[in-house]
């Protein structure tokens, strides 16, 4: 018994350390050739381990049995990342941006992944949050932390403008309405002088909490961390809270209700016949998703001190939605992973910047052909029950891969 515990912990530690070491290496190594080699080798190793039944089984078992330990390890690693990357404040900033994208992607996952609401105007809600924070702080001197909340709330309010199309139109037509919405919003931003027009809003005060400005370097246990670490830790806190909320909602009657009205995988008609107030729950999913996007947008404003119309486009919305599709529809771990990749890969491949869109398109098509379920496919909902009296062997729904 003790042997098994020790072995499980070692397996988990080695997997986590190995994968994060690869991650850090990919970030810090600048030579594109070496990065490609590292990526290729890690993909090969993962593929090989996946095929080797014995090793794969023991890894999966270890993570399943000692899930809490793995979670604690992950949290420790997240907390330590700024220490490891303290010589590259740029990457700490990118990781913070990745967390913001995770927050937006989680929101879109609630809308599209769980409830089947195609929102191709996600960037608009991100933009509402960003512009709200920008306007309130530059015109009214509103404190940044409060602006996060106000930006999110404003997003929810603007989202309610789309309630009528949401309730009255079928999914594909709603998608068109949201595309029109984000394009109209982009145009509004470009032309409205009171919103800064094409120049946007400049000089947005950087994040500060109760007087403590985020522009200071911080010193923890004698180690000096760049000021970007401030943003990182706050984003990590917010991301962690929102991610936990997402996870708990998914593992509850709320998540099940959303799945039931998802036209793609669920069935709206039988949901109605079983008493589900389909319209109300669609509005709830839509609103919560917009809250997530708005909060992330507001944070972005206070991080980069500048927000302008080019940040809010239909293309941006597509990226957010593709994080959900690539990661695994309705799969929270998948969506988080995909969001991180979608932020880091373009940064890493800056040398090929003009080819990024082509590259991205190819990846999208390949994923849809080879692995339609996504990077981390969604698993059967077991409501986080610690003890499963009836162990099912395979917990990922079958179907075309």
């Amino acid at each position: 018994m003790r042997n098994s515990l020790l072995r499980d912990l070692l397996v988990i530690l080695s997997c986590l350390v190995a994968s994060w070491a690869v991650f850090i290496a990919v970030l810090l190594v600048t030579n594109v050739f070496f990065v490609s080699v590292i990526l290729f080798l890690s993909v090969a190793v993962i593929y090989g381990l996946n095929r080797w039944e014995g090793v794969r089984a023991s890894i999966v078992q270890a993570f399943r049995r000692r899930g809490r330990f793995a979670l604690v390890c992950m949290i420790v690693i997240f907390l330590c990342l700024p220490f490891i990357l303290r010589s590259s404040p740029y990457w700490i900033l990118i990781l913070t941006l990745a967390i913001l994208w995770i927050i937006v992607a989680l929101g879109i996952n609630i809308q599209f992944g769980s409830a089947g609401i195609i929102n191709l105007g996600a960037a608009a809600f991100y933009g509402v949050g960003a512009y709200t924070a920008g306007m309130l702080s530059t015109k009214l001197g509103s404190p940044p932390l409060l602006n996060l909340l106000l930006g999110a709330v404003m997003s929810m309010i603007v989202g309610s403008l789309l309630f009528i199309p949401l309730l009255k139109t079928k999914s594909h037509y709603l998608a068109l309405v949201t595309i029109a919405f984000v394009m109209a919003f982009h145009n509004l931003l470009n032309n409205a002088e009171w919103l800064g027009g094409a120049q946007g809003i400049v000089g947005i005060p950087l994040m500060s909490v109760a007087g403590y400005s985020f522009t200071q370097e911080i010193t923890i246990w004698g180690v000096k961390l760049p000021s970007q670490a401030n943003f990182y830790y706050l984003a990590l806190l917010l991301g962690g809270l929102l991610g936990a909320a997402s996870w708990r909602l998914w593992n509850s009657w709320v998540g099940l209700t959303w799945n039931s009205l998802n036209e793609g995988t669920g069935d709206e008609l039988s949901a109605r016949c079983m008493g589900v107030a389909v319209g109300r729950w669609a509005m709830i999913a839509f609103t919560i998703g917009n809250f997530y996007a708005g909060l992330a947008g507001a944070f972005y404003s206070h991080m980069t001190s500048y927000i302008a119309p080019p940040d809010i486009t239909f293309y941006q919305s597509l990226l957010f939605l593709s994080a959900v599709i690539l990661g695994g529809i309705d799969s929270i771990p998948g969506v988080c992973l995909a969001a991180v990749l979608l932020v880091i890969l373009p940064e890493k491949l800056r040398a090929f910047q003009q080819y990024w869109v082509i590259f991205f398109g190819i990846i999208l098509v390949l994923m849809l052909i080879l692995r339609r379920k996504g990077l981390i496919p969604v698993r059967i909902r077991n409501y986080m029950r610690d003890i499963l009296p009836l162990a099912a062997t395979r917990r990922t729904p079958e179907g075309p891969d």
């Binding site: 909320a245 708990r248 909602l249 593992n251 509850s252 009657w253 709320v254 099940l256 209700t257 799945n259 039931s260 995988t265 669920g266 069935d267 008609l269 039988s270 949901a271 109605r272 016949c273 079983m274 008493g275 589900v276 107030a277 389909v278 969604v378 059967i380 909902r381 077991n382 409501y383 986080m384 029950r385 499963l388 009836l390 099912a392 395979r394 917990r395 729904p397 079958e398 179907g399």
Partner: protein
Amino acid sequence: MLGRESLFQCEKLTKSFGGLKAVDGVDLSVSEGEILGLIGPNGAGKTTLFNLISGVYPVDGGSFSLGGENLTGLLPHQIKKKGISRTFQQSRLILNLSVYDNLFMGMLEGFHSWFWDSLVFRSRFKKELEKAIEKANQLLNRFNAELVGKGFLPVSEISQIDRRRLEICRALATRPDLLLLDEPSAGMSPEESAELMDDLRRVRENEYRQLSIILVEHDMAVIESITQRVIALNYGKKIVEGTFEEVSRNEELKEAYLGR
């Protein structure tokens, strides 16, 4: 049959699609605890009638009531609250979700743990979950004890007949007074249909003894063995009503199925 209170009544129900009268002035009544068969050739209006009664289509003429209460014009989720549940001709189970999840869909209305309990006081949610699993197991056990062990498997991994059973369980989970079954034996082999007949008999055990059922079927063996009374439709109109023996002797019905 005589003397039992009428639970459900339709009067002159009519539904037109453009110029076509899919349901034409149909009168129907079901007593408490009665199983009524509804037969007729394809296109006779049986499923349309179900859609009217379950609120999926708005009624063009006539009315229907349950327990004396007029339900005409109500939406599907309101009709469910009043006590009418149904299954569908094509399976409308969610294949990617687990067996339990599909069952829980029928129980959602009775749940009390929503946002606050899901996010913060999870122990309250867990208690409700355990009770729900227990109730689900009771329902599943009634039809197929093996299903109880498969609760957390995706529906795509259970057999067709188990899926049919699951759909009936899901409708039962809503605790209806009237259950509408739309061609439950569609696509089944004779052996599977025989199993289904046993299942339908088992539906009305224990707490569901007084459950009324309207059963649409093409398989006459099922109709003959399960139902107490039969109504036949053709071109949206009721053409004959009575016991299975009486109805099967009716000339007009034979002509409708077999031609002149």
